[in-house]
Structure formats: C-alpha cells, structure tokens
Assembly symmetry: C2
Homo-oligomer: 445 residues x 2
C-alpha cells in the first residue's frame, strides 16, 4: 500500500476505505502518509481513526504534527489518546511539547497516569529510566501454568510485551523470568516456580541506557527488567527501544569523531543556528590548537627560507600522520564502545600497533622516497629526510592514536573525543618537529 | 554467577553443580567461561553438558574453540550437536571452519540437514539469505485459533521464534502473518483468516542484509519474512540477528570513514599482517593524493621565499578546512545511511550548509584575525589574507563535504568513502589555492 494510493482514496473522499487501509498497514507507514496531509486534512483524518490505531500512529508522528493534532483536539479526545498511548510514548510526547501544551495534556490525563508520567519524567536523559516502560506482566511463582496463562489473557492486552513474563514476590522483588514460549510447551499443572529462570540479567534505572541496549544485544533478549536498589521490578526495556538506542549511540559516536556536538534530531529537522552551535566550538578549539603547529614552523623560519622545497612536503607529512593516527584511534574507540577492548588490553594493543605501524611506515617511506627522488627530482638527502619523517611519524601517530582514547577512558572522559581531529592536531605538531629535527641533522640547516 | 565461581566449582571437581550452573546461566556467559578453560578441560566440560545447552553454548564460542571441540568429538557426538544447532548457526560454523573440518562435519550431518545447509551456503556474504534462518512456524489460514495453538505446541519447540507465525497457502506463498499474542487474546473458534494481518512487510533473499535490519528497526518487528521471487516463504530474519547487523554496519561505516578497509572480526582477533593490509592501501592513496597539495606549494615557492611567515599558517588553514568539511560529510553520510536523507534533498542540504558555513566562517575568520594580528604580531594585510582564506575555505569545505557523498551515492559508490580523509585531501588543495590567490592579490607577491 503506497502513499499514492492512500492520497487517491483521500482525494476521492473514500474515507471508509482510507481508514480501513490505515488500520491495516504498519503504523510507521501510516504516520508517513499522515505527514503528507495539509493542516486541515490532518485532524480530520486523525479523528476518523479507530482509538487504538490513532494512538499507534500518533506515537510515530514527528513532534510538530503531534502538536498540531493536540491543538485541534477537545479535552475529551486528548484524554482518550493519552490513555491509549504506551507510557514511554506518552513521556516522549511531553518532553517534546511546549510548556502550555504540556500543562493542557497533563490536565486532561487521569490522576493515576499523571503520577506515573511524572515519575518517568524525573529520570536523567540518558538513563535506563528514560527509555523503560511500566507496562509489563508480573505473576507469582506459586501459580500453575494454566493459572498464569489465564491471568495473562485477562491482563496482558495493553502490555508492551506478553512474551516475557516477570515473576515477583509480595514485596515486588524480581525472583524469576519466564518466556511465554515456555508456558506454551509446559504442562498446564506445572508450577511457575519450577519453570522460571532464576539467573536474571537486569539493569538499574540510573544505569546508562547504552548498558541496557548492550545487554539486550549481547544476550539476544526480547526485554530486559529494570530494578531499583532493592531489586524491586520498576520497569522493562524492550528490544525495539534497544535498537533505537544502538543506532542513536552509533550516530553520536560518529558525530563526536567528526568533532560535532551530538544532537538527537535528524539533520533536516535541526535549524541552521543549532547546527552552527553544534559545530563551531570544536572548529574554534581545533583551529586555535593548530597555532602550536604554526609556532613550530615560525621557529624554523630561517631554515625554511634557505630550503623552500621542504615546505612542499608539509601537507603530505601532516596528512599521512593524521590518517595513520586516526585509523588507530577510531579502531580503538569503536572497540572500547563495543566492549571488545578494555583498559587491561593496553599493552597488547600498543605491541600490535607498533608492529602494524612498522609495516605501514616502511612501505610508505619506500614509496615516498621513490616518488620524491624520481618525480619531484629532489636531492637524495631531502628524499631521505622526507622518508625518515614518514616512517617516524606513522609509528608515533599509531601509538598516540592507540593510547589517547584508552587514557581518556581511564580519566573518565568519553574516548570518542580522542578521534581524528584531536589526534590530527597532535600528530601534525609531532610530524613537523620530527621533520625539522631530521632536516637539521641531515641537511645541516 | 561470575566466572570465578564457575572456575572454583571446576577446580573442586564439583561437576554436577558446574553443569547445573552452566545450564542455568545465559549461554553467552557460559561461553565466556568455557573460553577460559585449558585445551584439556574444554572438551571434558563440554561433553558433560546437556544436549540442548551444549548446542546453545557451542553457537556462542569463538571459531578457534569450536574447531577444538569438533576435533575432540566422535562422529556421533558431532552429528548430535549439528542437529541441535539452529540452521543459521550451523551455516556460520561451516563458514568459519577449515576445509577438512567442514567435510567431516557435513559427512556426519543427516542428508536432509546437509541439503538445507548447502542451500544457505550459496547466498552471497552480505545478502539477507546469509543471515536468515529456516526454522519458522507456518500454518494454513483455514485453521481455528485452537487448532493453530495446538499445532504450534506440537511443532514449535525447536523453532527460532514462536511469537510470529506465518500463514501460507498450499503453494507456500506467504498470505498473512499473525502474532502469538493475537492468538492468546482471540476466541478459540476464531479463524486465522479473519485474524491475520495481510499487509506484509517482507524482503527477498538477494536483498542486502542491511535492508532487512532497517525494516526490522523501522517497523519494530520481532521477525521479518524472507520470500523468493514468487512470494514463497523461504526464511525469516529475527530481531537479534538484525541487531548484530546494525552494529556491524555501524562499525563498518566508522572504519571506512577513518580510511580502513572493514573487517568483520574484533580487533584483538585480527593478525598484525591483516590489520596492515586493511590500512596500507588507503594510507598510500591518500599520501600520494597529497602530492597535488605539494605541487601547489612548489608553484608558489618564490612567493613563500619572500614571505616565510605565510608558511606558518598553512597547518591552521588545512586543519580548519579539513575539520569543517568532515563535519558536513560525516553528517550527510550518516543521514544517507539511516535513510533520513535522500538524493532529492540535495538542494535543501546545500542551502542549509551554505548558511551554516557562513556563520562558522565569519566567527572563525574574526577569531583568527584577532589572533594573527594580536598574538602572532603579523601585519594587517597578512592577517586579512589569513582571515579571508579561513572564511572562503570553510564555505567551500562544507559545500564539498555535502555534495561529494551524495554524488558518490548517485554514481553507485558507497558514500562512506567520501568521509574525512578524502574530503581533507581535496579541501587541503582548495585551501592552499585560495590562500595563495588571496595572498598574491592583497600582498602583491
């Protein structure tokens, strides 16, 4: 069912067919269609939708359109949508809306739901609490399979997942987990206490949301329980939310590696000024750090005045050093972030990088020597200087690229800031220092 | 249950307790423990495990240990493990093993399973076929809910998921999908044909595996059906495999952005020479491209000889241009890869980048002018030349950074190669050309 067909149904005013189609297709696609509607059409079509379909599609709309729809709804309609939304979607909505809309939404929400929403709004932005949901099924371990299934059928319909069921005691402590598939294949008189898994993987509300996503990915879970400090069950994180976190975190890492302050919105939805603000601090810092490199050149000004040909190789040396360093730093950063590398691996990493950098450095030095002497027609001694500088720079660049991210992590910083631009600035200075030292020694300038 | 406790049980030779513990904990953790065992202990402990637990743990072990275990097993034991493995894990195993082990494994496998494995081995490495599994449940639409549930209980126990059930006709054509949760909440006499969703999201075996992962992420699916060209169901991709693909693809993108040929193994498992091979081609290409920048400097050699102070600003100009360009190129590449940006957005992107680059450029130019004239004590005209070059370079860098990835995609290349290192090389040359042109005009050299 393409957007074109839905648009045709709308323009031919075949509303019954349109609503049926929107009900049938995936809410994500339905939301994409809704986003193409005019400001007048949107609330009209939305009002015709079935209550639960309406809530599902609403949760998938961009904030701007959610605001439009909220603005067009009566308090009663609004309250209906709020009760249908999953709690995490309701919280996301409130976080996106301007203050006056928030207060109107909260006014029309039932007291019980308002209390629940307020609890969720208090969790810090990147915590597990901020992505968990409170709609799970919990049962007692004393039930039989038959009793458990009948309980799930009665209470499960509005839960975010019914496939993972949590077993708690009277104090809400999480004592076990059972999957619906285990209930399906068990005998009806079996006791939950005999079937449940008691080796439980869980996270705390205050953990970083990446911890939850990593656990779900590592252990192939459909949902992960969230407990408080006394091991009482307070929420669950489902795999679909974990997938979103994994994608966001990868984007964030990539942005930080390119010296951009991460934002959590898609590119086209961010204003020019916000984009500017996310980029300018790093450009300024990195530009001013390059001053140091300039100082080195100024220091050797008279030498360069004598042999201007040395200047021609500065870009090549800086680029090669920067690229060699960022290859290593990016590899180490990604390894740290996927949990494949730890601080304890530092010696192994440095030893490996030393050997890799020797191989890379020797090959590059030979090629650059040939190029310099044959193509650039430089003298033997100048070609030697360039080749030796390439070799030394590549080795140092790779060792710096390997150590700095690990050092940053050790000091409690995000290792991602130690990616290409930062490494490049350091390696540039080092490359030039080596260059001029070798040049002074070999050429006697 | 930590690895230490398990090790203690092993050393105290409390095998019953150890086996029970390994059975209880997650297979990923159990595999981590098994990886700490000696070459003698590993097959001993493995042999004691229950058949299904053994298969689960085996699937999580690194290839080297799988090979060790296979080597220690009798043909009968091997055949037992192979029948217990999910088909996608069995295929992964064969792809990792050396030829002599593969032929031994295939010899001990039942004819039916061998046929199935061979079919899977034929799919290209990055295709949906290579990650799908053939263990799904399919039913006819004429069944009632009660009949369907009883069928699932009979046949579902060794299926990779029982939560999504596929409805096919006699020709195996996929006609509908129903979730186990819908069966749970339906009346036992309801017909599947009335309950199933008929609006189906599916992929083809030959699609890129990223397509499957993106669909699962976008539509929050637990499993995605894979069909052949005649819409017959041939496999499913489950959400846990999609999560792995998403993480691998992000790593691959990050590696390519840092000028590394992607590998699919963790850093510490790759040999020094393989790491060298994945890095050296790009270092060579980028080093040789920097020749062009050198040529520009050589061309202006006499001008630089007259005013050596101009040389001191070359690193600053090159770095700032490179950073500004890679901020934009990386943002656009990530947007393209997440599907947030399309070719059709190019004018919108360029218009936005033009405005952002003007803001960034003006701020950087003012700061660099102040720094040059006050700290570096350069003349007014030299400071003007540097500031104007920064402004022009930032604007051009951002426009180049935005266009090249889109152009690459348009021409059918992976836009990721147009990331930082490549953009930097181009922008370096542009920055120097601008610099010397402005310097010639303003300073008359």
């Amino acid at each position: 069912m393409t957007i074109e067909i839905l648009t045709e149904l709308l323009h031919e005013r075949k509303f019954a067919a349109l609503i049926e189609a929107l009900d049938e297709i995936n809410a994500v696609d339905a939301a994409e269609f809704m986003a193409t509607l005019s400001e007048e059409e949107l609330p009209t079509v939305f009002r015709l939708l079935k209550k639960d379909t309406a809530a599902e599609i609403f949760a998938e709309l961009p904030a701007m359109l959610q605001e439009q729809i909220v603005g067009s709804m009566s308090d009663k309609e609004l309250s209906g949508v709020m009760e249908e939304l999953f709690i995490d979607d309701a919280v996301d909505l409130l976080e996106e809306m301007p203050a006056n809309v928030v207060s109107r939404i909260l006014k029309t929400t039932s007291a019980e739901r308002r209390k629940e929403i307020n609890r969720f709004l208090k969790y810090p932005e990147d915590s597990v609490g901020s992505i968990m949901t409170s709609e799970w099924i919990s049962i007692y371990s004393s039930l039989t399979v038959e009793e458990a299934v009948s309980y799930i059928r009665k209470t499960g319909i509005d839960k975010e997942t019914v496939y993972v069921i949590y077993v708690t005691d009277a104090r809400k402590t999480l004592v076990g987990i059972i999957e619906l598939r285990d209930l399906l294949f068990a005998k009806s008189e079996d006791l939950i206490s005999n079937l449940m898994q008691t080796s439980i993987i869980s996270v705390k509300t205050t953990d970083d949301k990446e911890t939850a996503a990593t656990a779900i990915s590592k252990y192939d879970l459909l949902a992960l329980p969230v407990v408080d400090s006394e091991n009482r069950l307070v929420g669950i994180v489902t795999v679909d939310d974990a997938v979103d976190v994994i994608q966001e975190e990868a984007t964030e890492d990539i942005e930080m590696m390119a010296a951009i302050t991460p934002t959590d919105k898609p590119y086209l939805q961010i204003g020019v000024f916000s984009t500017f603000l996310s980029r300018i601090p790093w450009l300024l810092i990195l530009m001013l750090s390059a001053t140091f490199t300039g100082t080195i050149i100024t220091h050797y000004e008279s030498a360069l005045g004598q042999m201007v040909i040395l200047t021609a190789f500065i870009p090549l040396l800086m680029n090669t050093g920067g690229n060699a360093g960022s290859q290593t730093s990016v590899t180490v950063i990604r390894g740290l972030s996927l949990g494949e590398l730890r601080m304890g691996n530092i010696l192994r990493i440095l030893w490996k990088e030393l050997r890799v950098s020797l191989l890379c450095g020797v090959v590059l030095a030979i090629v650059v020597f040939g190029k310099t002497i044959l193509l650039d027609r430089a003298s033997f001694s100048v070609s030697m200087v360039v080749a030796l500088t390439v070799l030394a720079t590549v080795i140092i660049a790779k060792l710096v690229g390997a150590s700095l991210p690990i050092l940053a992590k050790r000091l409690g910083f995000d290792p991602t800031v130690m990616a290409s631009p930062f490494i490049t600035t350091i390696v540039d200075a080092v490359a030039l220092l080596i260059y001029f030292s070798i040049a002074s020694a070999v050429l006697g300038i």
